[in-house]
């Protein structure tokens, strides 16, 4: 079960329409947000906070001891209150909503926040969200998706948190343009930045060579609505061929193009229970170790990489104005 590891990959790949390659804008979004030309800006983003205790421990480690600068929370999951307690102790953390429409593991699962009576198309025969993105696409009406997006954001704000951004677990919201539309709509309406690349797409383009026209259009729409946009997303699989996660991330930092790149990790401190949730514990642990490794920190410094957050992107976007 490597599904979560694929997260956006799966979905981006399943989403030929959204990320078709097209000529990149002349100026990167980093430049448009006020960084000097040539700046290489990175968000190391920890997905899946709140999914379980072990995910919370990994996120905490990566955010407090490592180079990770942002995270997002899966609001249908059982360890959300624990994560939100952590956030109260670290209120400067950059925390968003990892909008979740799937419950992909076999034994450890969750249902929609909005509940089956309100969003019946979002649940399978176990009363949980669907395992796979394609199953969501077969059953979930866009109105139900929007209701659930709003329910998850509502749950976040009920903890007293204004999320710094929205993104999409397993990329489900990128997998169908009808869903993407709702995701964009809610982000714009609430004034919350949403994950969307619109620049050179060095890596997103590799996930899907067809990539882009629509992504750039949506990105432009977000920018015009006053929200920040990224240049690229690295779903964690690039560059290929590195011996381990730490080495891969060092290589990434050396080769990445100027612009803002969002690099996705799933930092976890797997306990004895994690193996009953998922077989991805080893991979997730290696991502935690990479985030806190001296090697990665050193390369960040050597390469002059700027680490940023969604909060900073939003502030910069507001300064730029129309």
């Amino acid at each position: 079960m490597n599904k979560l590891a694929f997260l956006m990959i799966a979905a981006l790949a399943a989403a030929p329409v959204v990320f078709a390659q097209e000529a990149a804008p002349e100026r990167s979004y980093a430049e448009r947000l006020g960084w000097p030309a040539g700046s290489r800006v990175v968000i190391f983003h920890v997905d899946d906070s709140g999914m379980c205790h072990d995910a919370n421990m990994g996120a905490k480690d990566a955010l407090t001891n490592g180079v990770a600068s942002s995270t997002s929370v899966m609001f249908p999951c059982a360890a959300v209150p624990e994560f939100m307690e952590l956030w109260k102790a670290y209120p400067t953390w950059d925390v968003g909503v990892h909008l979740t429409m799937t419950a992909e593991w076999k034994n450890y699962r969750w249902g929609p926040v909005a509940g089956k009576p309100t969003v019946p198309g979002l649940v399978d025969e176990e009363g949980c969200m669907w395992h796979e993105v394609f199953q969501v696409m077969k059953s979930a009406m866009p109105d139900e998706i929007e209701t659930e997006i709003r329910a998850q954001v509502d749950r976040c704000t009920s903890f007293g948190m204004k999320p710094t951004h929205l993104d999409s677990h397993m990329g489900t919201l990128f997998a169908d343009p009808r869903y993407t539309e709702r995701y964009v709509k809610v982000g714009i309406e609430l004034g919350i930045p949403i994950l969307m690349p619109g620049g050179h797409m060095q890596y997103v383009g590799q996930d899907n060579p067809m990539a882009g026209k629509m992504a750039r259009q949506v990105a432009q729409q977000l920018w015009d609505a006053g929200l920040p946009v990224l240049d690229d997303i690295n779903t964690g699989d690039y560059p290929k061929g590195a011996a381990n996660k730490t080495e891969q991330i060092c290589q990434f930092l050396r080769e990445m193009k100027p612009g803002i790149t969002y690099f996705i990790v799933h930092c976890t401190r797997p306990s004895d229970v994690f193996q009953y949730i998922s077989s991805s514990g080893g991979k997730r642990l290696s991502e935690t170790e990479a985030m806190i490794s001296p090697e990665v920190k050193k390369v960040v410094e050597e390469e002059g990489i700027i680490l940023t957050t969604w909060r900073e992107l939003k502030e910069r976007r507001e300064k730029v104005g129309k």
Partner: protein, 327 residues
Amino acid sequence: MKKLMTMAVVGAFVAFAAANAWGEPGYAEKLGWKPTDKVLIWHVDDAGMSHESNVGTIKAMAEGMATSCSIMMPCPWVSEYAHYVSAQADLADKPELDYGLHLTMTSEWEHRHRWSPVAGKPVAPTLVDEEGCLWDNVELVVKNADPDQVEKEIRAQVDRALTMGLKPSHLDSHMGTLFADPRFAERYIKVGIEFGIPVLTAGGHMTHIARENGDVMEAAKMMSGVVWAAGLPVLDDIHTDGYGWTTYAEKKSGTLEFLRTLKPGITEFILHCTEPGDTFQFISSSGPTRKADLELMLDPEVKKVVEEQGIILTTWRELKQRRDQVK
């Protein structure tokens, strides 16, 4: 965390009342056992709550003496237990597992491992707190929950179980919330009767219930009368003290005393068998009492006393079959 301990205690008490039943035949007798038979359900609460609860429940029933359990449908490990049930059902030589639904209206592990109503906040807004979870304790549910929404949530939990192919042998109430307010108890019984699924109620000698809280026993008798009249089985007594016995020595001596003084009739003894691992402490501090419950079910000395006392172990499925034969 003492909340779970109050569990059926609070609940059982609030709803069950002072016994003046000594002259009447007990429910065991009504269900075809001899007047002197001592019949017992070893019942494991909280399946589905955590992986550790599932492991404990399965072990207590497969390797130990436990005869029944119930599942918390809003919790994230329900699928794991349901898959076990379906794998067991494929083994033709085994009797059907006795599992019910532990109807859950609270989410009591503060700021830790928590869950929300199956019906969802839009349909059941009075059932959730500011974290979007079911309320932390019974009092808050009684104070805030609209009985119509409680019924919706009961139905949503039953619906989830039936949709996933489970065949619950009974319904009962996590932390006794549904016994804590007659407006809730009424809905609980109504749904059980409507679906023909036995609901946990006791209306016989109520020795342990009386000892723990005697002042609501009239209500319990009335409830039991309604349930029986609707064709569902009823118990004579429920024992809920065990959660407060935290060391194994205390647990064992308390249980042996319980067995040696058990009165004729059908008694359900509540357990929370769990196999806590490294991280159960991040769910709850109740690991030790839960682990002790599991050990109790595996303890040969306890089993020996059950045999010596001639105690008959039963299940909710058997109670239902017997009830069907009565009329």
